[in-house]
Amino acid sequence: MTSLRTRAITAGVIWAIVTIVLALAGLGSFMNTQATERFTEALETRHTQAIVAVSNYGESPEFISRGMSDPAFDRPFSGLYWQMEHEDGDFYVSPSLVDTILPRPQEGDRANIVRRYDGPGDDPVLAMAQWVTMANGDRWHVQVASSLDTLSEDQAALRSNLLTAFAIVASVGILGASAQVTMMLRPINALREEVAARWDEEDGLTPEIYPVEVAPLVADINGLMNRNRDIIRRSRRQAADLAHAVKTPSAIVRNELEALSGKGLEVAEAINALDRLDGQLKRSFARMRADQGEDQVGTYTDLDVALGRMDRAFSALARNAGKSFTASFPQGLRVRMDQNDFEEIMGNILDNALKWADTQVDLTVEGLADRAVRLTIADDGPGIPEDQLDDVIKEGRRLDSSVPGTGLGLSIASDLIVAYGGAFTLGRSAELGGFSFQMTLPTSSAKITPQNAQTDPSAHG
């Protein structure tokens, strides 16, 4: 669809063209009329001058040209001519006519006759002619003519001036329209930026700060974002309820089977099937969670809160296991992720680390400059040989089946990290010598700044 800017500018340009064409037509016609009137007035003045010349020099007509002072009358075919004709038939003409004469009107009245005809050299002229009677009773036919070329030149010069002026007006108009469009579109651009920035915020947009024309749209976007969050929250709750509903009966069946097994009955197949059922359920819920993560909007996790919780929980679990857990993270970081999902990732990775650690699990967090947070979980356990690193994130893969677990933890964690646009690397911890899980998660725009992310991490745990 055509952009608003293109629409506004196109409409502006079309409107400007229509206005300019109409103005050119109107103003051009007015100025043409003005030029013609001026031309006619000049001709009249010359005609009057010619009458005065005849009246002054009528007694000795060879001097008439003295009364016609314009040098153009002397220049051959200059376009400005006079012609005096005595009623006796004597002819006196301006030197500019050279050897031609101007045609005389047929009628013999005394009216001042203005005519247009082709003059010397087929040059169209406007001529003014009149029979005048002098004080001594002589009658003269006095005629002046002026080439219409000068009028056309005047008119062309006027048109050109007019076009230049309108071109300037049009340019200023287009620039003004662009500026106006930019200014008018500013709230829309601001909205776009705000939506992008607030997409991961709970608080939504503020319709009041937008122009009244845009405010309803802002309110609608808020509604959409809330609806999206609600849908995810609801489906997550339903999934959790379903998990809850299925797991207790599953636990009962398992216990019955184990009791039967204790009595020497052959139930290995049934237990095996139940294991598959439980595993499948866990995998399905993990997948559902990861799928929802991809489309999540409006969510973020305050690491102060979430890591504080993980710190307390895993300190307790480490104490139970006779191991130690430390977490160090700078304050004020946020990641663009649902808190449940963040805790799911951290829980699975930390649980795995604690299971394998000899004595120590460390969690370190640092804010990166490019809107990301890096979390590293390291232990002092045996670590994983490099050629098996890829295997640990495969679903159901357990590197040591003697240690209890489903083999799903790291797979669930890695799926979720990727679903939220994060990345992870597995390796050996340089500090503790065991397994190291390092992940980079995108931060939520609202809170992170490179400054607060990288200053003086305060130790916890």
Partner: protein, 220 residues
């Protein structure tokens, strides 16, 4: 050792209870959160197993209320929810450990024993005093390496005294920890069990502080 099991699903509760009974634990069952909190506040338990999805009052609330009331009994949470958030909620509210449903009964029992042992400050599952040893995992008692057969009440008394070694335990306290809530609590029978234990394990193991109770002194 007396355990409070708060689980609203009666079949699962009975299964857990019967397995714990065979492990010589005495178990009271609470079917909802209000009952669980009441029993937790009024009865001396050695461990509480708390399902988080309880009716009337949810497990997290019960947990918080117990901890806020100064109860420091080890609490193991059972959660059927899939996510870590539930477990972290529980641990953050003061639980000591968690087991997720569906679980293996053996794992649950191992956690229960380990938690009770940790509360006693004992890292090894085997308690020893002179020539007598008690394996808390199997309830097996040996004297000079020879297995000795004990009744469940005798094991309960011995286990409680070993877990509280070095501390004087009154008959009332013993009876509170070896009988369940609705059981017949006759503290005089405690003397009978102690006498039998002395006959089987030697008279030096359990010392009587007249009029106050019993004590097993420092164990290895």
């Amino acid at each position: 050792m007396r355990i409070l099991l708060a689980e609203d699903e009666p079949t699962l509760a009975n299964q857990i209870k019967s397995v714990l009974n065979t492990e010589q634990f005495v178990v009271d069952v609470a079917a909802d959160g209000a009952e669980a909190q009441f029993l937790g506040e009024t009865e001396p338990y050695d461990l509480i197993i708390l399902d988080l999805g309880l009716p009337i009052r949810d497990g997290i609330t019960v947990l918080k209320n117990l901890r806020d009331g100064g109860n420091d009994t080890p609490i193991l949470i059972l959660t059927a929810r899939n996510d870590w958030t539930d477990r972290v909620d529980g641990l953050d509210a003061g639980a000591d450990d968690y087991v997720t449903k569906p679980f293996h009964m053996a794992e649950l029992c191992a956690r229960v024993r380990a938690m009770i042992r940790r509360k006693a400050g004992q890292s090894s599952p085997v308690f020893s005093k002179d020539e007598v040893s008690f394996d808390s995992r199997t309830n097996q008692v040996m004297v000079d390496g020879m297995p000795i057969s004990l009744t469940s009440q005798e094991i309960a008394v011995l286990s409680y005294l070993f877990h509280n070694a070095g501390r004087l335990v009154s008959r009332t306290e013993l009876s509170q920890h070896i009988y369940q809530y609705d059981g017949d609590r006759d503290s005089n029978t405690i003397a009978v069990f102690v006498n039998r234990l002395r006959k089987k394990l030697g008279s030096d193991l359990i010392e009587t502080v007249r009029g106050r109770g019993y004590v097993i002194k420092a164990v290895a």
